[in-house]
Amino acid sequence: MQIEDFLLMRHEILLTLGILIILMADLFRPHGRESSFSGLAIGLMAVITLAGLLPVPQGSLFGGMYVSTPLFTLVKNVLTMGTLIVFLQAHSWMTGPLTLRRRSEFYILLMSTLLGMYFMISSGNFLMLYIGLELASIPVAAAAAYDKFRMDSAESGMKYILSSAVSSAILLYGISLIYGATGSLYFERVAAFYTGTPVQMLAFVLFFSGLAFKISLVPFHLWTADVYQGAPTGVTSYLSVVSKGASTFVLLVLLYTVFSKIALLWQPMLFVVAVVTMVVGNLFALRQQHMRRFIAFSSISQAGYILVGLAAGNQLGMSSVVYYILVYVCSNLGVFGVISAIEHATGKLRMDDYNGLYHTNPRLALLMTLSLFSLAGIPPVAGFFGKFFLFAAAAQQGMYVLVILATLNTIISLYYYLLVVKAMFINSNNTPVPFFRTCCVTRTGLVLCALGLVVLGFAAVVYQQMFDMSFGL
């Protein structure tokens, strides 16, 4: 291996080192002294984010097992930043007594998950894809069951591992048929032989279903609400943002490269799945009272919007999806930041508890409003731009019906997002969440989200960059 190769894989190598550092730090920490590892993990993630910004050539290693392009690097950076923000927001929880004596494990689990996502994104072979996918999901299950003094956390972990196991079995069956139909597992060769024979179609459908589990598309979404509700808030936000973003991006890349020849099959399929996902997610979100369940269904419907861009299959679609993932990271982490701050301070998690929040904690309420508006696609926050581009991509392909259905769905979603806004600003409450100050680390995380929400929309250069790196069918 040359030194450039190390540079090409810097995300993965640095993250592996980071995991080892934390492991070692835990092993050699003085006996009887507790340390939170929070600062260490945050610092490591910050270093990786910065290192990711270095300009580096593209290329492939290990005979095509590992591929890196500027777009991949960019998405990895987005995911790293998302993880960084999750760590920042989890800081106050991680320094609390509930996590005593097993703090380093939390970071190791999430970081190895992130490593799995890196490999998943950079894979050039179905084997690497699968290993990355598993590395990205098995530790999450353990992390979901991390809060083991609560019943629903354990249940959440169990639901996640079982559904993830079954989905990866289906995915594997798909991969095995792909291998049988094309004779290879390397993306390039598979793409060359993928012409759409019946067995290839079947293989694709199975493969897609497996990935759809991870992105929680309807009808593979049944685990989502329970898992989101039960897992610790930090893990839930990680699941709904980083994990989902990575899987979506992988699906995007595969659809546009490996399966590009059967676009005529997957475009109508995505059409249907997108519509069903949006509608079901929205309708269920309407009646949720528990904030984490609420966000679970909201994020299902968000995945539906992303599919609208995916279905387009053009350059605009690809860049819009990537852009939307970035925006989604900021918006959803903003929401989760507020939720976890309030949960940590008061233990309250129901929508009624948010009544009158603005009067006691105006800043949190404002950040929540901004994030929700971004999810709903209201200007001037970034979500507006993200949605516009997604829909523009579909419109470019002439899928106006899809766009109309999607925009009508945004109206439904606006309704329930406004319910939260209403709770915070309008409803009165005899026992409101008392005023509290978040610790400065958590606040940094919140400020980062707010900044992202405001800046991303207006700074067209971000989108321009993504557009330049993207490609169509």
């Binding site: 291996m1 290693l61 005979g63 509930l98 097993r102 290993i131 590395l135 991390y146 079947l202």
Partner: protein, 205 residues
Amino acid sequence: MMETIQSFMTAMMNSVSEIFASADLTRPTWSKWIFMALAGVILLGSVLTVTSRRILRAATFLFFTLLATAGLYLLLEYEFLAAVQLTVYAGGILVVIVFSILLTSHISYRFDPPPVWRVLGGLVAAGSGLLLTICVLVLTVFPKGVAAPAPDMQQVGNALLGQDVHGYVLPFEVISILLLACMIGAIVVARKSREPEASQPDKTE
């Protein structure tokens, strides 16, 4: 519509008869007999695994299924894989499963039979999936590869640490991290620890 179905049926019939012709069942050989025996064990074992109402029996049937699968690998001359299957699957996974069964269930415990609608739903879902898959498989003509000799351990070892095309050093490394992470995850979840005093507000509702 009728014509499409008809032509589909003819194509199916043709493919099926072709497959059976290539199997040439009139001239039984050892490998055919062994395959049939193994297939029988696998099918029976699988069905019993999911339908048995005693969990320990289900595990036993699963064990036989896994053994028969290892036999299948042997039949295909993949001795190494058969060995891995035996040690990791039958020896590792299954032992863990049996341990956990013994930890969590009483030996005489019997499941309640699943409700009828669920069985029907399962039958319909799995049955239609199976039917579809088999139709697609039957209709597919797979390219005839040249039967090359099975890999010897030297080749396997070289490929496992190879860095070029068809080299597997990267997945090998990544999977080691995966195993590490899973170990840590399993430990952090299963390790017994005392619940701290409720200085935190109660988070369950």
